[in-house]
Structures are given as structure tokens and as C-alpha cells.
């Protein structure tokens, strides 16, 4: 109760409103700063490119990249696919792997975190698999799954699976024991407690995990498309490299970055719905 004297006299509703106003103002400031940051970065980039400090062969300016973006929408050279095809192809790979990681990783993590026996059963296997870099699965992936979508999605899956599982596991482990006891004294079965108390408690951590997983999925995309591809953003980058086209590489990076950002925004929307109780 260390409120300053002025707010101490406010009613609860007024106090809540005041806090809300302050939060809104903070948020506006933060947004303005973010926009300034991005603009500053683009300006600096443009300036470096224009100054000729680096050869334009190595660093295309943001404006050139925007121009190339529109060119690439219809021009398949040098990689042989137009940008739309590359984006769609990468999205299919990344979302398949990422989606599977969520559908498998999160329930598995929750179950492992909740049921001791299941934990003892699964944990050794998981601990062995966990430190393996996703890219090192490539040779086996080819033999097991071929070179199609499923092989590439598998590699992305591994990159996204681990953070999903770990966070779900840690999240449910951190469930407040008092809340578990509340449910227990209500006569809830272990599964009901798992479902009604453990899972909601874990959601904050789960979303943090999904966020990491999303980043990892995108990051592994290039590696997955190195396996074998005839289109895709990673493939476009590899081909840009093959023909020493730094602008194609930068365009690929920029598109991956922008799409990644869109996904994070989308995730925020979902998170706000699920974890809305935290924000209001």
C-alpha cells in the first residue's frame, strides 16, 4: 500500500482508469520509438549504400530492394521461380513443420510436466534428441523421408519442437501448488486438475515457447531448403549466392524478415485472446 497520497483518495474504478490511461500513453511512446528505430535503420542502410562505402554489388540500397521486390514478382531469374511461388513454397514448409511442432510438442511437454511416470519414460529420449542441431538431421532425412515437403518440414519441425516442448514442460511444472490444492479439495481428478489448472497456468510459458519456435522455424528454413528445392525463399537466397547476387540474397532476407514479423503480430493477436486476462 505505497500509493502516493493523491491516488489513495481515488476510488477503485478511478484508479483502474488512471492506470489504463498511463499504460496507453506508454504504449504510444513505445510505438513511436519503434517506428523511429525502423526508419533510422533504413536511412542508415540507404546512406551506407549511397556513400559507396561498400560496393553496390555487396549492399543494395533499401530502395533498390523495393524495386527488385516488384521485379521479382514477375521475373523468375536467376533462381527460376517468381517471388510469390517462393513465398508460398516456404510458407508451406515452415507452417507444416511449425504446426506439427505445436500439435505434438506442446501436449507432450504438458503431459511430461504433469505425469511423473510419463516424464521418466520420455525424458531420457528427449534429452538425447534435444541437443542435436536440426540441420544435422539432413542426411538421415533424405534417406528416411526423401526430399519432398515432408523431409523439409521434418527439419523445421525439429527446430520448433524443442522450445515448444521445453516451455510447456517448464510452464506446467511451475503451476502454483496452492491452485492445485484448491482443485484437489474440490474433489477434482488428476486429469481435471491437469486440464483446468495445469494447462491454463502453463499458457504463458507455452506462448513464449511458440514465439521461439516460430523464430526457429523461419531460421531453419534456409537450411531445410538447402536439402533440396526448386523454389522457396531459402532456395532463392542460395541461388542468389550461387550467382553472387547480393541483392537477391538481401531481398530474400527482407521477405523472410517481414513475413516473420507478420507472424509474430498474428501470434500476438492469438496470445492476447488466450492470455487476455494478463493484459487488461
Amino acid at each position: 500500500m505505497t500509493q502516493p497520497p493523491s491516488t489513495a483518495r481515488l476510488s477503485e474504478a478511478e484508479r483502474v482508469a488512471l492506470v489504463k490511461r498511463q499504460k496507453k500513453r506508454d504504449k504510444r511512446t513505445a510505438t513511436a520509438l519503434s517506428v523511429l528505430g525502423i526508419l533510422g535503420f533504413l536511412l542508415l542502410w540507404q546512406a551506407i549504400a549511397a556513400s559507396g562505402l561498400l560496393s553496390e554489388r555487396f549492399l543494395a540500397s533499401p530502395l533498390e530492394i523495393v524495386g527488385l521486390f516488384f521485379v521479382k514478382l514477375v521475373d523468375p531469374s536467376p533462381d527460376g521461380a517468381v517471388l510469390g511461388v517462393n513465398i508460398l513454397s516456404s510458407l508451406t514448409v515452415a507452417l507444416t513443420g511449425f504446426g506439427l511442432a505445436i500439435v505434438i510438442g506442446i501436449p507432450l511437454g504438458l503431459l511430461m510436466g504433469w505425469y511423473r511416470a510419463f516424464d521418466s519414460f520420455m525424458r531420457p529420449v528427449f534429452e538425447i534428441i534435444r541437443p542435436i542441431p536440426p540441420v544435422s538431421w539432413i542426411p538421415l532425412t533424405i534417406v528416411w523421408l526423401g526430399i519432398d515437403l515432408k523431409a523439409k518440414a521434418f527439419i523445421v519441425f525439429f527446430a520448433a519442437f524443442v522450445p515448444c516442448l521445453i516451455n510447456a514442460y517448464t510452464g506446467i511444472r511451475q503451476t502454483n501448488p496452492v491452485l492445485i490444492n484448491v482443485a484437489k479439495t474440490c474433489g477434482a481428478s488428476n486429469f481435471t486438475i491437469f486440464w483446468k489448472v495445469g494447462c491454463p497456468s502453463a499458457m504463458t510459458m507455452v506462448f513464449a515457447g511458440i514465439r521461439v519456435a516460430l523464430g526457429n522455424s523461419w531460421a531453419t528454413l534456409v537450411a531445410a531448403e538447402m536439402l533440396a528445392a526448386d523454389s522457396g525463399l531459402g532456395y532463392m537466397i542460395i541461388m542468389g549466392r550461387q550467382f553472387a547476387r547480393a541483392d537477391i540474397v538481401i531481398l530474400g532476407i527482407a521477405v523472410i524478415g517481414v513475413i516473420g514479423t507478420l507472424f509474430v503480430a498474428l501470434l500476438n493477436v492469438v496470445e492476447n485472446r488466450v492470455l487476455g486476462w494478463k493484459k487488461q
Binding site: 500500500m1 477503485e12 483502474v16 502454483n176 496452492v178 491452485l179 490444492n181 484448491v182 482443485a183 484437489k184 479439495t185 474440490c186 474433489g187 477434482a188 481428478s189 481435471t192 483446468k196 489448472v197 491454463p200 497456468s201 499458457m203 492470455l275 486476462w277 494478463k278 487488461q280
Partner: protein, 273 residues
């Protein structure tokens, strides 16, 4: 005033089955909760020693005891979070089972579900019990009205003040219409003003709903203010040292000479030095 007859009956430390026979031979419909020979060891540490007492239907019992007297263990046994080494707890003559009986618990720590609104918190236990929707609606509405939570029903716990959150927890417990409501120092963290306010709130709910309540506290004044009967626990291994009936009219007054006399008596009994 002390009622030691029950304890004498059990000094032979019979097992649960023989005590059940005896209990059935002397049916007493007025007894809601019966604690028999409750004993708990943690490894070789003897925490509870042969605790026995009865609680009548709708009775308000406070439990007090010196610091570190195993109150928490005692409670966890009553709620079945731990199972006893020996002895048992009976509700309506049956061995207590949280799945069958209605137990409710107000914990010392804030225990509202942070991801549920006020209303959904109130519904939580009732939904676990799988009561009919209209029953749940009715009960929840009643509690919301009694506690004056109408404006806060869609708020989340962290948006509320500490006292409002605790009221929700208390409301949630009463809404269960529990066979036994256990409260573990629910106001331990609060200042005096809030405490008085919530004590009255609990008394009001108890009077209106006729719930059987066991209220654990280290605050003797609080115990005398609320209880019909006070159980005084001893130091470890804990047993019931004495029972004190508080037969004062309500609302009680702290400066009433009878109040002061009982308070002093209980304080004297708790001293172990």
C-alpha cells in the same frame, strides 16, 4: 468447560475399524465431522498425536495453537492432501473423500485462478462437482449478491484489490455449500481494517448458509471473535490440549469483559513455557 470425555474414550488407541463400530453404535445425527485418533508421522518425525474431536452440523470451530504446532499438517490431513498414518476423518459417518464429500478450503495464500474472471472463479468448484447449470447459476448469483461483487464479475483477480480477491476466494468456498469449510489463516497477510471487515463477512455468510467451518488462526482475538468453540493445540507432537466453548452473543465486542476473560484464558493455555 473443557470436554475431555472423547479423548478418554480413545486412549487405548484403537484402529479405525473398531472406532467405527463404536460410532455406529451411538449414532448422533447432529455430528457432522468426526476426527478419530488422527496421527501423522513424517518418517520418524511425530507431528500429530492421536487427535480426536467432533464438529456439529453448522458449527464454527476455531483452531489455535503455538507457532510451529503442526497446524498446517493438521489441515492438510483434514483436506486429504495428506493421508494420515493412523486414524481417520469422517463426514456424516463416512470416511472423508474429496470426490464424494464437499470440502472447501480457503488457503493462506491468494488462490484465485488468475486466468478466470470473478464469476468463473466462483463457478470453478461447482463445475468440478458437475452440478446442474441452473444450480450453479443460482448459487453463484447469490454469492455475487451477498458479497456485492456485481460490478466486478467480469474482472480478473489481478485487477482487484487484495481484499476483493480474498472475498472471491471466500465466496468460492461458501458457494460449494461444503460439508466442511476449512480456512487457514485467510487474513494472515492483511491489515487490521481489512481483517475486521472480512471476519464479519465470513460470519455473515456462515450464518446465512449454515456451513460447518473450521477456521485456523494464530490470532487468539480473532478466534474468540468468531468461534463457537475453540480447539487449542499443543506443541509437537500435536494433540488437542483443550476445547473452549465461546458462548457469547453476536455481534461480539472486544471490550466485553467475558470476551476478555476467554481471550486471556486461551492465551494462558497456549503458552508452553
Amino acid at each position: 468447560m473443557p470436554r475431555t470425555d472423547l479423548r478418554h474414550n480413545d486412549q487405548a488407541r484403537q484402529g479405525a475399524s473398531s472406532s467405527m463400530e463404536r460410532r455406529m453404535s451411538t449414532p448422533d445425527s447432529d455430528i457432522k465431522v468426526e476426527v478419530r485418533n488422527l496421527t501423522k508421522y513424517f518418517g520418524r518425525l511425530h507431528v500429530l498425536d492421536d487427535i480426536s474431536f467432533n464438529i456439529k452440523r453448522g458449527e464454527f470451530v476455531c483452531v489455535v495453537g503455538p507457532t510451529g504446532c503442526g497446524k498446517t499438517t493438521f489441515l492438510n490431513l483434514l483436506t486429504r492432501i495428506y493421508s494420515p498414518t493412523r486414524g481417520d476423518l469422517f463426514i456424516d459417518g463416512e470416511s472423508a473423500d474429496p470426490k464424494k464429500h464437499n470440502l472447501a478450503f480457503v488457503f493462506q495464500e491468494p488462490s484465485a485462478f488468475p486466468w478466470l474472471t470473478v464469476e468463473k472463479n466462483l463457478r470453478f468448484g461447482l463445475e468440478i462437482k458437475k452440478l446442474a447449470k441452473d444450480v450453479i447459476d443460482e448459487r453463484v448469483e447469490m454469492i455475487i449478491k451477498m458479497l456485492g461483487l456485481q460490478d466486478l464479475r467480469d474482472r480478473y483477480p489481478h485487477q482487484l484489490s487484495v481484499s476483493s480477491e480474498q472475498r472471491i476466494i471466500i465466496g468460492r468456498a461458501f458457494a460449494m455449500h461444503p460439508d466442511l469449510l476449512l480456512m487457514d489463516e485467510p487474513y494472515g497477510q492483511m491489515d487490521v481494517k481489512l481483517r475486521f471487515f472480512l471476519e464479519d463477512e465470513v460470519i455473515r455468510l456462515w450464518q446465512e448458509l449454515g456451513t460447518t467451518v473450521v477456521f485456523i488462526t494464530h490470532n487468539i482475538e480473532e478466534a474468540v471473535y468468531m468461534a463457537q468453540r475453540i480447539l487449542i493445540l499443543s506443541t509437537k507432537p500435536t494433540t488437542v490440549k483443550e476445547e473452549v466453548v465461546v458462548d457469547l452473543p453476536r455481534p461480539r465486542r472486544f471490550d466485553d469483559p467475558d470476551f476478555v476473560a476467554i481471550r486471556n484464558y486461551v492465551t494462558e493455555k497456549i503458552k508452553w513455557w
